[in-house]
């Protein structure tokens, strides 16, 4: 009886996480730990808010992608071109995005925080699939952008494991020397990976605004960019793994609503904590060679 709302809530919480984690996976596979992803999410959320008015929903999502990509380009400029430290650059990129989005939001909508109501994507019901009892409507009566997120995992898998560019990307994250010996230029690939990855983070922000909240709030990314890093660890740097990882975090987040709604005698904060502890355990028992060898290193 509690299954249906839990599934529905889980799908809603999982989709933005999945998009962000997919983006983080791309850049981590190329050896860049993108701490700036959190900044990309919030930038995407604001861009969607600003873009949906003049350009409609599709324009809003496009703006979100572009804003995320802009944060990614900043990362690429400093990490790949200047070869600055990834962690510090990512921290600065996130700080910068928070500052700029906050200031622009207040500049445009005023400091009082008027309740902003934006158009949101209407659900697009997929016939037959949506009729599956229990999970059907939760999964398949959703905004179209959700289906894109579902497709992200197979696309990422295909790209990483079935294309030469994906192979090259993974090689760059493991051993730039070996990749270089095979005639692959590491720099452009790394830059592209962090930019596209951040664009996906931006899209996650767009989904938060245009498919869920219908409004913008400062700090509404709520650490999803960082959670994406955890998801990638939990998913052991594979597309299928991050789907499971995103579900773990998504369900745990959804549980809090259910716990509150049903008045269950568990503290939801403890439920929220579990995925992080699970991630720490996963880190402990990651055999050497699971994480990309060049991750977080600036000596490429």
């Amino acid at each position: 009886m509690a299954v249906d709302p839990l599934v529905a809530a889980s799908v809603r919480t999982t989709v933005p996480l999945l998009l962000a984690a997919g983006g983080e996976l791309l850049s981590e596979r190329a050896g860049i730990l993108n701490i700036g992803l959190e900044g990309a999410v919030i930038a995407g959320a604001l861009a969607a808010t600003l873009g949906v008015g003049p350009w409609g929903l599709a324009g809003g999502y496009a703006a979100a992608l572009c804003a995320g990509a802009a944060v990614g380009l900043l990362m690429a400029l400093f990490v790949v071109v200047v070869r600055a430290d990834q962690i510090l650059t990512g921290t600065a990129a996130t700080l910068l995005a928070f500052g700029v989005t906050g200031a622009v939001y207040r500049g445009v909508y005023g400091a009082t925080g008027v309740a902003l109501t934006l158009p949101t994507s209407a659900p697009f019901r997929i016939p037959v699939l949506a009729a599956i009892p229990g999970v059907g409507s939760a999964l398949f009566d959703q905004p179209a952008v959700f289906y894109l997120a579902y497709l992200l995992i197979p696309i990422l898998w295909w790209f990483l494991y079935r294309t030469q560019v994906g192979l090259a990307l993974r090689a760059v994250g493991e051993s730039p020397a070996a990749a270089g010996a095979a005639g692959i230029a590491a720099g452009p690939l790394r830059a592209a990976a962090v930019t596209v990855g951040s664009a996906l983070g931006g899209l996650a922000g767009g989904v938060l605004v245009l498919a869920q909240a219908g409004t913008f709030a400062e700090g509404m990314s709520a650490g999803r960019g960082f959670i994406a890093i955890a998801i990638v660890v939990l998913g052991r740097w594979t597309p299928l793994g991050i789907m499971i990882g995103a579900l773990v975090f998504g369900v745990a987040t959804a549980m809090q609503y259910v716990v509150q709604a049903m008045g269950w005698p568990i503290r939801y904060e403890l439920v929220l904590m579990l995925p992080y502890l699970l991630t720490l355990l996963a880190l402990m028992f990651s055999p050497r060679g699971v994480a990309p060898a060049m991750l977080a290193r600036s000596d490429v």
């Binding site: 079935r162 030469q164 192979l167 993974r170 051993s175 070996a178 990749a179």
Partner: protein
């Protein structure tokens, strides 16, 4: 099977800045033949092969392939022309499968099944055992090397360059690889075997070329050479040009034995056996040279004697104070960004307690700088701002200032000019005269001969004492006699 190319390199010269790497070198490679390229470190072997594989642009000279003059501007060109190279440090992605490694660098889709099949077929027709789906990092070293060969073959290589391929292999594996190379040549392929090992060259090669100091010293069919003639070509009698470093070795020391090894075994970074069953002792006041070609195990032996690598078996008795001048001074001996007086304090940092009196430390640094002729404005200069010779004198001065009972030194004068070299040699002799047992390795055999009273030769993990005579040591280094 397709014939390998016949390649001739004529009059190849290359300089890097003021340094002449190779000068007017000719090399004839025939289809169906194994050509051994011999020479010590710095002889120019790598540069010459770099030219052939498109990694190095020659200043002068021509390359002909089956008679037609060609230009090889990049490894891509080389691969297109059927040239493949197996590097000494494998260029594999460890986390990838064999098939992924072989396919890396292509375009469009990646089809695992096609790649797997290609590896299987290539490996099978070449007679090499390779599992296409194995993760490369899980494979033993010899299998990783086979992966490199298969990758070259899968890209259509009919001319294989192998850089020191047996340096990482156990004797049985090395024999198998050499047999395979013969087989590859018998089927029409062309092979260049870059090596230090004369016995190996004579056993497998049809033709031999010896480089020394960037010039071709000898070349011809292998049947025209013997171990002695090749050793003599690689390690010539001193021609008197390096008098600055030469001095008559002092009489054998009669001090007490201060360092004893009994049944010592040492393993390398990958857990491979490097030194087996070594037994020897070193007396106070003597200089012992440790000779060995690259990869023979001398590096790991020195590390064990210096106390920075744990022996896996046997007994090693080292007295209280050991100083070490490692071969890679930038990485292991200095903090380049830090001032000299902090670099001075680096020695013994692990055991020091309490406060550090920096003014006193600066004073001692200044004294060592004066005593060892380290040219810097003050102890506050960073180590990175010094020239190589000054850095090395500083490191040696620091290590000797600790009054060691044993001093272990690796390539003490690499990259230094004659004057700096002479001053380092003098310091080492003085250290021995003051009672330290000095163990020194150098890639330059003449340096060892100039310094040492006794010489240990390391060959294939075996340590044995050899009389300090150039021919004898040279032969022992290459496993002959």
């Amino acid at each position: 099977m397709r014939q390998g190319p016949a390649v001739s390199l004529t009059g190849i010269s290359k300089r890097f800045g003021p340094v002449v790497a190779i000068q007017d070198v000719d090399l004839e490679l025939g289809a169906g033949r194994v050509h051994a390229l011999l020479g010590e470190n710095g002889a120019g072997k790598s540069t010459l092969m770099g030219v052939l594989f498109g990694l190095v642009r020659p200043d002068r000279g021509t390359i002909r392939l089956d008679g037609a003059e060609i230009a090889i501007r990049s490894p891509r060109d080389a691969v297109r022309l059927g040239v493949g190279m197996v590097q000494q440090h494998f260029a594999n992605v460890g986390a990838f499968t064999v098939a992924e490694n072989v396919a890396l660098g292509g375009q469009g889709r990646y089809r695992p099944r096609v790649a797997t099949e290609q590896v299987r077929i290539t490996a099978q027709s070449a007679g090499l055992a390779v599992d296409p789906n194995a993760r490369v990092a899980d494979l033993p070293v010899e299998a990783q090397q086979r992966v490199e060969i298969v990758r070259a073959l899968a890209r259509g290589a009919r001319l294989l360059i192998l850089d020191e391929p047996t340096a990482v292999l156990a004797p049985a594996e090395a024999a198998a690889l050499l047999a395979w190379l013969r087989q590859f040549a018998r089927e029409g392929g062309t092979v260049v075997l870059v090596t230090h090992k004369v016995a190996e060259a004579l056993a497998v090669a049809d033709d031999v070329t010896v480089l020394r100091g960037g010039r071709r010293i000898a070349s011809g069919p292998a049947t025209g050479f013997t171990l002695s003639t090749l050793a003599a070509a690689m390690f010539p009698k001193s021609d008197g040009t390096d008098d600055a470093t030469r001095a008559t070795p002092p009489a054998p020391a009669t001090g007490e034995p201060v360092l004893r090894a009994h049944g010592l075994a040492v393993r390398g970074d990958r857990g491979e056996r490097r030194i087996v069953d070594a037994t020897f002792s070193v007396r106070a006041g003597e200089i012992v040279g440790i000779a060995g070609v690259e990869g023979s195990g001398h590096h790991e032996l020195l590390q064990a004697l210096a106390g920075v690598r744990q022996p896996t078996e046997g007994i090693l008795e080292i007295p209280g104070r050991v100083s070490f001048v490692p071969g890679d001074r930038h990485r292991d001996a200095l903090i380049l960004d830090a001032p000299l007086y902090e670099n001075f304090a680096l020695h013994g940092a692990g055991a020091r307690t309490g406060l550090i009196g920096w003014p006193a430390m600066r004073g001692r640094t200044q004294a060592v700088m004066a005593a060892f002729d380290v040219k810097a404005r003050s102890p506050r200069d960073t180590a990175g701002s010094l020239s190589g010779g000054n850095q090395q004198r500083f490191v040696l001065g620091r290590e000797l200032d600790a009054r060691p009972d044993v001093l272990v030194v690796e390539n003490p004068t690499r990259g230094l000019d004659l004057q700096a070299t002479a001053s380092i040699h003098r310091r080492l002799r003085e250290a021995a005269a003051e009672g330290a047992a000095v163990l020194v390795h150098s890639a330059d055999l003449d340096e060892i001969l100039a310094l040492a009273q006794r010489i240990f030769v390391v060959h294939a993990g075996i340590v044995r004492e050899v009389p300090p005579d150039r021919d004898g040591v040279g032969r022992a280094m290459v496993g002959a006699g």
